[in-house]
């Protein structure tokens, strides 16, 4: 068994423009996803939009630089994640493929284990 991080990337503008009905539908879909895959889920959260993000870097002198916004500007932004357990990548893909992501998609990343 391995763990995978399922990162949800979606276009934030589409989300902002979505009406209450769409948002409600999405919530319901996430709930269904959670119920259908309960035994495989190890965690997960929705994130506030990138407008609420704060990024930290160090400059050449080692000073901490704090900036407003996400670390990298991308067309689709990270909006949430799930941690899942799966026997192999095929199973991980089968689960991740059920994650609702109407305005984008998901990335499946294996979680690294250090012995």
């Amino acid at each position: 068994m391995s763990e995978y991080l399922v990162l949800i990337y979606e276009n934030e503008a589409s989300w902002a423009n979505a009406n209450g009905e769409t948002a409600g539908k999405m919530m319901a879909e996430h709930e269904s996803f959670g119920q259908n895959n309960a035994s495989k889920l190890r965690g997960g959260n929705a994130l506030h939009p990138t407008s609420s993000a704060t990024s930290l870097r160090r400059d050449a002198s080692g000073k901490l630089l704090i900036t407003d916004g996400a670390f990298a500007e991308t067309k689709e932004a990270l909006g949430g994640y799930y941690v899942i357990e799966a026997a192999d990548l095929d199973e991980a893909i089968a689960i991740a493929g059920q994650v609702p992501a109407a305005f984008g998609g998901v990335e499946v990343r294996p979680i690294r284990v250090f012995d």
Partner: protein
């Protein structure tokens, strides 16, 4: 003796590697163990003679070595238990041909996993299933050996860290995954059949690897129509290989080739396979492409070619696979069947397709129709456009000759 080992290397490599991966659970470890086994063969076979089943011999040696390696690497009891279990498997497997055959299927499905890029799928397939050296794979991609070595290392790392399973996909996934494998083998074939760059028209080594892979798939997936279709396509297309260039190395068109020199045996086998493949409904794309090739193969001459049937086949192909390349081939067929004006009209509908803009056959097809209509200036411009996009020396020479003829 070295010849016997070399022969075994060529024909048994995939067999042995695939079986060893299952025991080793790691492609790199398995590769090393297989190399060791072949080295051992070079030492032992002169003393004990070439075994009746070289593949089984090599597999046993490689797997034993893999178990040794695992035992030494492992410090956990749990892992040892797995290893012991696999050792028992090893004893029964060597005697069971079908289980060994399954391992090659496992391997090719792993190499062609959708989470790997297409180039990576092709590179892994050439290296692990065809046994090409890293240098030879690098040459197929026209990159340096170190670049290819890094690419293969990254690929194997991805297989390991993301845990791509070493197995034949489940029934639900199988059709799509078989399609992916067929695409990879087809890509190896087309790259070899008309090399995109270089001095020769064809790269026989890649064509032969593709044919081997298609035959292997035919044995392992005997009732799959797509596999039958792909093997048919390769056989029928490659049946013409001796006639594609003239004695001076120049390109010969289908209309100019001596059909008596086509490989009749390959054509006969190909046609049987096409009939089999076409029994699946709806027809698969390789079956349809093979059927087009079959129409040419069965036609005693260029003049007697049944273009109506070819156009109909392309129409069918476009329904399920609206690829601009297929549309281009159809447009060329239309031009031959109904005249160059009709051909130009069909081509004009394609031009907006950005995918084709770098594909020199679009420009050269247009050039040829214009040439037939004696619209010399336009034809010359089109041939020159094709030349800017063409990197194969034999094809370039052909296009340059056409330009020269226009100026006469």
């Amino acid at each position: 003796m070295e010849a016997a080992v070399a022969l075994a290397y060529q024909s048994e490599w995939a067999f042995v590697l695939a079986a060893t991966i299952r025991v080793a659970g790691d492609i790199d470890v398995a590769e090393e163990c297989v190399q060791d086994a072949f080295s051992k063969a070079l030492i032992m076979w002169p003393k004990v003679g070439v075994p009746a089943k070289p593949g089984a011999w090599l597999t046993t040696v490689a797997r034993r070595r893999a178990i040794d390696v695992l035992r030494r690497q492992s410090t956990h009891d749990r892992l040892l238990t797995d290893v012991v279990y696999k050792d028992d498997e090893a004893k029964e497997i060597v005697g069971n041909d079908s289980l060994i055959a399954d391992d090659r299927l496992r391997l090719i499905f792993t190499c062609c996993h959708p989470s790997l890029s297409i180039e990576t799928q092709v590179a892994l397939t050439l290296r692990l299933l065809c046994g090409l050296t890293t240098a030879e794979v690098a040459r197929a991609f026209l990159v340096s050996e170190s670049t290819m070595a890094a690419r293969l290392t990254r690929a194997k790392k991805k297989i390991k860290t993301s845990n791509i399973p070493y197995r034949v996909p489940t029934e639900t996934d199988l059709p799509e995954r078989i399609e992916a494998v067929l695409s990879v083998v087809h890509l190896v074939f087309t790259t070899g059949h008309t090399a995109p760059t270089g001095v020769d028209l064809m790269r026989r080594d890649l064509v032969e690897r593709a044919l081997e892979l298609a035959r292997m798939l035919r044995v392992l997936l005997n009732d799959d129509a797509g596999v039958a279709g792909l093997l048919a396509l390769i056989l029928l297309t490659d049946a013409r290989h001796k006639t594609r260039t003239g004695p001076d190395g120049s390109l010969l068109l289908l209309s100019e080739q001596d059909r008596n020199q086509w490989d009749a045996k390959a054509i006969s086998e190909g046609i049987d396979l096409v009939h089999e493949a076409l029994r699946q409904s709806p027809a698969g794309r390789f079956a349809l492409m093979a059927a087009v090739s079959a129409v040419h193969a069965e036609s005693p001459s260029w003049q007697e070619t049944d273009w109506t049937q070819i156009i109909a086949l392309y129409d069918l192909l476009l329904v399920s696979w609206p690829s601009p390349v297929v549309a281009l081939n159809r447009a060329v067929a239309v031009g031959i069947a109904r005249g160059p004006e009709a051909g130009l009209e069909a081509l004009a509908q394609l031009v907006p397709e950005s995918q084709l803009s770098d594909y020199n056959y679009l420009a050269s097809a247009r050039a040829d129709f214009l040439r037939q209509l004696d619209r010399r200036d336009e034809a010359r411009a089109a041939y020159l456009e094709a030349l800017t996009q063409c990197e194969n020396e034999v094809e370039r020479a052909f296009l340059e000759r056409r330009v020269a003829e226009l100026d006469q």
